[in-house]
Amino acid sequence: MTQSVRKFLNHSGYKFLSLDLETIGEWSPHDSEWNYSDALHFPYIHKSFSQKILNICSETNTSLFVQNLFFLKNPVIIYQEHKTKDSHEYLASSYGITISIVTRHLTHKQGAITKTNYQFFYSGFIGLLIAFSAKIATKKNYKKVISEDMPMRAQRGILRKTKNIFFKSDKNIVTPNSTLNPMDNNVFLRSGIILKKRFILDDDFTSKIFEKVFLRVSKEKNKIIILPTICPHEGSPLSDSDCHMRCKWHGRKIIPYISFNIGDSIRNAKFKHLNKTFIIRSDHEKGKTFCELELQK
């Protein structure tokens, strides 16, 4: 529908300044699509502005953004539309000009390219001056915003390269309202991965990472806990600092899948991780404690 607004503006005598910007990186176009649709990452990722959702539905997201511009905090209501998988369209009106933004998510060699076209619609000489300064501000702002968004896309690019995982949302359009729940699990483990590992839980044991399946078994005080190494929501990397951590992208609280005292004998305790079932066992043999992690086929 933003097409019709541009047509209307052209018909009613508005002129525009155009600005084209692009970002290339080693991730999939799905990742930049998701990044643009995602409505919850703003308070965690973007430090330069804050966001307040006014209305969100399956095709649109209207939010209020507050941004520092010209030494003042500026509120702008931005309308976002996501009707086709490969594009996002935006409309915003402030300071007497209307800004129309069209972003396309395309493949580029092995990675992805995001092409963004800005059109600053203005009328009159003062309008031209405002549009011109908005163009300069946008150029500067784009770099800042992308530098904050880039690590998210890059992380997902790395995850894709392992060929062990996929994202549930890849098949469909990532609708703005589907991104509202940080407790959704969007990262799925591929089938065909075989894992059955047995290891000793002795005094030297601190932690063991299972890279293939993104799991970490670690010791905390007298307990063994099993945690994911990536957030099951959208795949953010999780550090091993402590067991009560929050995801840096959307603030999801990460809770251990299983925890048990060293020495407890565990028989086939099951837990779900990245849409697959894992089995954990712990037993004693010849005075030693063993632990076994298995991915159920």
Partner: protein
């Protein structure tokens, strides 16, 4: 702005749409300072008519002369538009999101320059009389700037409100008039009018009464204008009333009510043989065209009734006799 979980301030209407609730209060908690003032209007109509008037996003183009409008997106509970308004020498775009905040209340929100404006409208009906309260909340993150600009903004918004109301009020009063005649609307049975109910001019929202309530078979004098154009009205502006236009010895008979939302079609221009509704621009063809050279009386069927019109001539046309059976 404070960082908090967003789900706190969002409410889901149908698992598809999420809306910010209590907007000015919510923003207040995040550091936005508000100053507000309330304007009100009232009249003999129902709250539903006010609700419809606010949600109907097709009428501004025709009804509000100083506004230009382009529509962006509509869901059941929200609509986003860009309004263009002339202020001094500038034509300024306002991107407005309007949404339903519950039965009998609405919220408008837009940002301009350094300000966020949340307009809360609520309406209350007592004895067929509805009072509409409109609260303007002007907010900014800069308290000094807000204090400086508020008196001027209040004048501008109040003036604008008066203009908008003077144009909107006839629409509401007309609906009140139709209700006093016993007409109802299809959207009345709904708990809430959806924005999608207002996006087509082809829908027939008015429920016509098929019983004639008053006898309109009588002699009518018609309006004479410079010996050429004259128009006459039969009955009242409901589904039995008729509007006649005389052009070059031909009589064009038009309806007096729009079947879309019930607008009165009396004072609209005849262009290219058609009249168009003053509210949404729905076009109406004549019900019947008669050439007076072939005879001074003619009959036709309208609203399942047989109309017989007789023209008496002396020094031009003077009298029309209408009988309905």
């Amino acid at each position: 702005m404070k960082r908090e979980r967003l789900s706190v301030s969002l409410s889901s209407k149908n698992n598809k749409d999420y809306l910010a609730v209590n907007l000015p209060k919510n923003l207040l908690a995040e550091g936005v300072v508000f100053k507000s003032f309330t304007l009100s209007s009232q009249g003999k109509f129902l709250g539903k008519d006010v609700d419809w008037n606010f949600k109907d996003f097709l009428h501004p183009k025709l009804v509000h002369k100083q506004l230009d409008q382009t529509h962006i997106y509509t869901t059941d509970f929200t609509t986003t538009q860009i309004f263009f308004q002339k202020i001094l020498f500038f034509r300024i775009p306002f991107q407005v999101i309007q949404y339903d905040t519950g039965p009998n209340s609405l919220c408008y929100c837009f940002s301009f320059f350094n300000f966020i404006v949340c307009i809360e409208t609520s309406y209350e009906t007592r004895n067929q009389n509805t009072k509409v309260k409109t609260k303007y909340n002007i907010g900014s993150l800069n308290k000094l700037l807000l204090n400086l600009a508020f008196p001027l903004l209040k004048i501008v918004f109040t003036k604008n409100y008066r203009i908008l109301m003077s144009e909107d009020m006839p629409l509401r009063l007309r609906k009140g008039q139709l209700r006093s005649w016993g007409f109802t609307f299809k959207t009345d049975t709904k708990e809430k009018i959806s924005y999608h109910d207002c996006n087509k001019i082809t829908t027939k929202n008015i429920n016509f009464i098929n019983k004639k309530t008053e006898d309109i078979s009588k002699k009518i004098k018609y309006v004479y204008k410079e010996n050429k154009i004259c128009s006459f009205y039969i009955g009242r502006s409901d589904n039995f009333g008729l509007r006649g236009e005389l052009r070059d010895n031909k009589v064009f008979v038009f309806p007096r009510i729009c079947n879309h939302e019930g607008a009165c079609l009396d004072n609209t221009d005849l262009k290219g043989g058609l009249i168009s509704c003053p509210w949404h621009g729905k076009k109406f063809k004549p019900i019947f065209i008669h050439d007076l050279i072939s005879g001074h009386s003619f009959n036709f069927i309208y609203s399942k009734k047989n109309y017989l019109l007789k023209f008496y001539m002396s020094k031009g046309y003077e009298k029309i006799n209408v009988s309905i059976s």
